[in-house]
Structure formats: C-alpha cells, structure tokens
C-alpha cells in the first residue's frame, strides 16, 4: 500500500519535557488511523508538527511521497484541533467562506463546496445565524465541515465526537467512513477507546512522548490476548481439573478458562466432550483496547509528567 504520511525519528523537546521523543510510524492511504495516548502524552505536539504549526527539532515528515512543506501543503491537510472555536459574532456562512478562503480556495470554489456540505448535513438554514446562537453540537458539526471542506488528502481530527449527541456522532462517523472510501486518510486522535475499536484500522499508542504500540486493531488484540475462553455449558460437571487449562471464573453455567501454555483450545473442548456435556457456546475472549490501554499506561508516571524536569 502507498503511504500518505511517514514520520521518521520525530523529536520535539521543550524546556521542561520531551514532548515527542523519537517517534516513527507511517500511515497508509485511505485508512482510518487512531493516534492514542493518555493526556499529556505528546499527541497534540505530534499533530501540530504534522500540520506544520510546529517544526520538529529533528526528524523527517513525508507527506504523499514528498518531504512535507508546511507552506504549500496546507490544502492537502484538514486539521480539527482539540481546542477549537469560531468567531462568535460572525455569521456562519461568512465564517465558513472566510476559513475556506484562508486555506487557499477561491471565493467561488469555496462557496460551491460550502453549499454542497451544508446541504449534505442539513445545515442550509444556518447561513445567516451567528455561532453564539448554535448549540455545542451544532458548532462541532460546523467545525467538521470546515475541516473537510477543501477535500484534503489527510484529515486530522482531534477528539471529533466530544459534545456530539449519538445521532450527530453517527452522522459524522458515516462521513468519516465515506471520506476514507473516497481515498482520504483520516487520523483520529482520542482517548475514547470504544470509538477507536469501532472506527480505526490501524492504531499507534504513545505515552511519555514515545511510541509504545503500533499495529492494526486485530493484531494488537492478538498480541495482548491472554488465551482466555468463555464456555457456555448445559450443565456444570462436578470437578473441573485439567492439565490443559485453569478455571478463572464461573457464573452459573458460563465458565471462563485460561488455557495453559502448550495446550490448544481443542483440549478444552475435548475435556468437556469426554464428560458428555453439551457445549452451547465457546469463544475466545480478546482484550478490549481499553484494557490494553490501561494495562500499558498504568503504573507509568504519565500523569505526573507535566511537572517533571528532564535534562535533555
């Protein structure tokens, strides 16, 4: 697959901390990419470097096969920052037009695209309203439109669903999928793991400015599975003792077992089959990203990081 974005050994040090400390990864064209990490992990700094707001201290950013040029690649990127807002007193239509023109679109071009998106997301009646008249969810929707308006190749969304109700969240989610299908690449930064599991193909987890996990959602889950299985039985046998597995939990007729090293899942099934017990269901328990996230981040001093001094 072609890469839309490649980061090589990116570094950005502040006086008091290493915000981004040697991070490399690449993103495939047309994928939905999740950038995860606890608060203060360095996500925002990383995104600001990708969008050309900050320059890295060292390292290389390649966008679409070429070295990233912050001045001229603005049209290729759409960025919705976590800290986002709009001019409160400005009319919505004018505001969208202004921001699209700042991206570099011509007035007529911008107008055409705004009309298309406003119609698509049923926002046409908003044109002459002011932002201060909108609810938080509505202004989020407007933010989204402004971000994707110029049809960027790379869309970066930092916590895009905060403040959205389920209906509008689904609407945006569908749009994100639609954009990906049309060849856009989406970087999705959040700490809402269930959304990541639902939307993303590929994830990277960073903590303390360093990358600690990189892979597809499935791969990551396989990597962190603990060989646990859930079995639903018709009846519970008297003794459950086996060399091949251990009983972890029992809830009525549902058992959770952990397979010992060297054994296979079939060994578990065989054990119950030999006792002539009907097996109603049998499936593997994969860890949720949430569990993996907590497992990896917990215990590190990530929460106190902001107050540390690092002698770089």
């Amino acid at each position: 697959m072609e890469k839309i974005l490649e980061l090589q050994h990116l570094k950005k040090y502040y006086a008091t901390q290493k915000a981004v400390d040697d991070i490399s990864f690449s993103i495939e064209k047309g994928s939905i990419f999740g950038l995860l990490g606890p608060n203060g992990a360095g996500k925002t700094t990383l995104l600001r470097m990708i969008t050309g707001i900050f320059y890295p201290d060292s390292g290389v950013i390649n966008l679409d096969g070429k070295v990233f040029d912050p001045l001229n690649d603005i049209l290729k990127i759409g960025y919705m920052p976590e800290e986002r807002g709009l001019y409160k007193k400005m009319k919505i239509g004018e505001q969208a037009l202004y921001l699209a023109q700042l991206k570099g679109l011509s007035k007529s071009d911008a107008m055409e695209k705004i009309k298309f998106w406003f119609k698509r997301l049923e926002m046409e009646s908003w044109w002459n309203k002011k932002v201060e008249d909108l609810s938080k969810g509505m202004s989020q929707k407007l933010q989204f439109v402004i971000t994707v308006l110029h049809e960027p190749k790379l869309i970066i969304l930092d916590e895009p669903f905060s403040g959205l109700d389920p209906v509008n969240a689904n609407l945006i989610k569908d749009e994100i999928h639609g954009l990906a299908q049309r060849g856009c690449t989406v970087i999705f930064s959040t700490h809402r793991m269930e959304q990541v599991e639902e939307i993303c193909d590929h994830i990277v987890l960073i903590n303390l400015g360093q990358k600690i996990l990189d892979g597809t959602v499935d791969n990551v889950k396989q990597q962190f599975k603990e060989n646990k299985f859930r079995i639903q039985l018709a009846e519970i046998p008297q003794n459950i003792v086996s060399n091949s597995f251990e009983l972890v939990a029992q809830k009525e007729k549902q058992l959770t077992v952990k397979i010992n090293q060297g054994s296979r899942s079939n060994d578990v099934l065989e054990f119950f089959l030999q006792q002539n017990i009907n097996i109603e269901s049998f499936n593997e328990i994969l860890p949720s990203l949430n569990e993996i996230f907590i497992h990896l981040v917990e215990g590190t001093n990530s929460t106190t990081r902001a107050f540390q001094t690092i002698n770089a």
């Binding site: 920052p81 800290e83 986002r84 807002g85 709009l86 001019y87 700042l102 991206k103 402004i146």
Partner: protein, 443 residues
C-alpha cells in the same frame, strides 16, 4: 500576502460594520462639536439691543460713539451715578458707563462700567474696543494728529520683527500656536497608540479565548494572522481619522454658515457687514486675529504628513507588542495589566518628554525623545509643530523616520516570535521571562 489581506479585510469589516463604530466615529465628535459650538455660540452671542447709558461728565466722547448697525447701543445721558444705578435695577439700561467730570484723557484714570448681568466675552470685547477706539482717536487728536495721518500710521504696524537665525519671522502668537498644535497632535498620537493598541490586544485575546487561533493557524502562518490583524485595525483607525478630519472641516464650514460673526473672525476677512464689524473689532482686541495669523504660519501639509507617518509608524511599532501581550494572556483580562506595563511605560514617558519638547523643541531631551523609536511618534510631533528647520532639522527628522521604521521592524520580529508560541499556549499565562526566552528560540 494575499492571506494577510484576507485577514485584514475581515478585521476591518467586522469592526466597521458594527453599530458602535458609527457611533464612535461620527457620534462622538459630533457631540463634542455641538458642545463646543454651544459654548462658542453663547459666548459670541450678544443680547439683542444691549443698551448702555453713557454719563459722559467730562465730555470726552463729544456725544459720539460708534453706534451704527450694531446690537450695542450707546445712549448719552446726564443723570447722576445714583440714578444710573436705579436705572440698572429697573432694567431701563443693561449697563452704564460713568465718566467722572474730573477724568483726564491723558491720565491713568479708569472708567467705570457696570452691567446688570454678566456679559459674554465677545460683547465685552466689542464694547471695550469701541470705547478704546474713541479714546485713542481723542488722545491722538490732542497730539494734533489728523484722522488720515492716524490711518497711515496704523498701516505700518510691527516695525520690530523677531527673527531667528535662519531668517524666518517669529512672533509671540506663532510660538503659542506651535505650542498648541504640537501639544494636540502629540496627545492625539498618544491616544491613538493606546486605543488601537488595546484594540489589537483584545482582538488577539478574543481569538485565543475563542480557540479559533489554532484552527486559523493550521491554514496561515501566525505571522500572517498577526499582521493581518494589525493591518485591518490600522485601516480602521486611518478611516476613522479621515472621517474625523472631514467632519472637522465640514463642521467648521457649517459653523461659518451658522455664525457669520465667528466665521469672519476665523477667516480673518469679512464676509458680510456684520462679520466685517466683528472682524474689525477683533483686529483691535487682537486675540483671535493673532491666532489666525499664527495658524497661517503653521505648515499644515507638513504637520499632517508627519502626523500620518508617525501615526502609522507608531501604531505599527506598538501594535505588534500589544499583540504579543494579547497572545501571552488567557481568559483573565487582569493578567494583561501586569504584562502591559513595560509597553505603556515608554508611551507615557514619550508623553512626558513631549510636554517638555513643545516648550523647548531643541533641548537634548527633546532630540533624544524624537529620535528614540519608542517615544519618537509622540515627541516628534511637538517638534515638527515648531516647523522645519526651526523646531527640528531635516537630518533629525529623516533619522527619526528611519529609526522608527527600523524600530517597527524590530518590534514586529520580536512580537511575532512571542505571538507564535503564546497564541497556542492555553491554561497558563506567560511571564516576561518566558516570552524573552521564546524570542531567542529558533523555531
């Protein structure tokens, strides 16, 4: 460049389209003018048929005082002083002039004039000038000088000219007018720096607090955003200034139409009989005509040209610093106060030097203040008002302008660095120490 224009356009339109803009631009000066207009009107206006009893016991006026076509009527009476006081009380006369029988015209005695109510300055001036004129003629007659001789004498006024080293004429009123012009223009620059500087700071704070800064900065460079804002607000200021100028001249013209009396004095030439009289009167009292003469000696194209240059230069120099402060503070506007101090100090300092410079435009403090770019926009106006090259040499003026341009490039460079980082720093207010550190950071 294109994007700076786009941003400037928005900044300009969003301010100009507000109702408050119209109110402050047109309403405020109008109110001030109406206020001053009323003051002038009431001080100029004489009561209809101001009747003055003249008890000329020494017969110094020969029963003759200039009376024609005027609201002020002198009436010669032969009543004693006590009668006159009663007449005043019963409003038979508005005032009386009592000349005692012992009055000697060549002496130092004074005449007694009493009115029933307070008189306007203009009325008093008119009365005084007419009496003086009559007395003067009388005195001169006593020296055997005829009226025609007297007229030719009066043509040749000002036999002494005060001349400065470079050969230009100076007189008292001109220095006074230079003082006033210098003071007013210096003060205006001072006000402009504060008003529009603060406007820039508020604009930057608004963008930061609204969190739109980062959205915009992903499309344009922070420097473009800052310059766009400064340019836009500067244009608002310039437009406001031009409207004010137009209003000033327009209203002056309007006043000329409404109060021909005043117009006659203001333009130093009569428009119609009533104006002629008034002008005549003023010529003798001297104050306003002298002022007009003084104003005529002021090189207004130079002053206005310099004013616009120092207005723009000073604004550009300071507004970027105000922008930097705006970027460094967060929600709490109180934070801005402490950070503003280092910026407002030189402005106030400039104002102090200006006060001295209007009195003594060539003192070393004035020269320093007019060259140093942080104070020059204010101080230089005071010196320019005294004229070039009397108040300031061409070389100093040129140097000051070059320094101002360099200074503005310098502050913009520093401010851009602070702004770039400050605008994306949420939650925390930056200190001057931190801001200084940002200045020296490379990227």
């Amino acid at each position: 460049m294109n994007k700076i224009l786009l941003i400037a356009k928005r900044e300009f339109l969003s301010r100009v389209q507000k109702k408050t803009f119209l109110l402050t631009t047109i309403g405020l000066p109008l109110i001030i003018f109406v206020f001053y207009g009323m003051i002038i009107y009431f001080s100029v206006k004489t009561t209809d048929n101001y009747k003055i009893a003249v008890a000329d016991n020494a017969n110094i006026f020969n029963g003759k005082l200039f009376n024609k076509g005027s609201e002020i009527v002198f009436e010669f009476v032969h009543t004693p002083l006590t009668e006159l006081q009663k007449d005043l009380a019963t409003n038979k006369y508005d005032a009386y002039l009592f000349v005692p029988a012992t009055y000697v015209i060549e002496g130092k005695d004074s005449l007694q004039f009493r009115s029933s109510k307070a008189m306007g300055i203009m009325t008093r001036d008119k009365i005084q000038s007419r009496i003086n004129k009559a007395l003067e003629e009388k005195r001169l007659m006593g020296l055997n000088i005829s009226k025609s001789q007297l007229d030719s004498l009066q043509e040749e006024k000002e036999t002494i000219n005060f001349t400065s080293a470079n050969g230009k004429t100076e007189n008292e009123t001109k220095v006074g007018v230079s003082y006033a012009v210098g003071m007013i223009s210096g003060f205006m620059i001072y006000i402009i720096l504060f008003i529009y500087g603060t406007m820039v700071m508020r604009g930057v704070m608004e963008e930061k607090v609204n969190r739109i800064a980062e959205v915009i900065i992903s499309s344009v460079k922070p420097f473009q955003l800052m310059m766009g804002k400064i340019t836009g607000i500067g244009t608002v200021g310039l437009v406001q200034f031009i409207i004010w100028m137009v209003l000033v001249f327009g209203i002056q013209f309007g006043i000329a139409m409404l109060f021909p009396d005043l117009a006659g004095q203001m333009q130093g030439q009569p428009i119609q009989p009533a104006g002629m009289q008034a002008a005549e009167a003023m010529k003798n009292s001297g104050a306003l005509t002298g002022l007009m003469e003084g104003l005529n000696t002021i090189n207004f194209p130079l002053i206005i040209g310099c004013f616009i240059f120092y207005f723009i230069g000073g604004y550009l120099l300071y507004s970027s610093l105000f922008a930097a402060v705006g970027s460094a503070v967060n929600e709490d506007p109180q934070d801005a106060q402490s950070l503003l101090l280092p910026i407002t100090m030189p402005i106030i300092f400039g104002m102090v030097i200006m006060m001295k410079a209007v009195n003594d435009p060539n003192s070393s403090l004035a020269i320093f203040g007019s060259l140093f770019p942080l104070t020059s926009p204010i101080v230089m106006m005071a010196r320019v008002a005294h004229g070039v090259p009397e108040g300031v040499t061409y070389i100093q003026l040129a140097l000051s302008m070059v320094f101002l341009i360099l200074g503005f490039l310098g502050t913009t460079w520093v401010a851009a660095k602070i702004y770039r980082i400050g605008i994306l720093m949420y939650r925390k207010k930056a200190t001057w120490k931190e801001m200084l550190k940002w200045t020296f950071r490379n990227n």
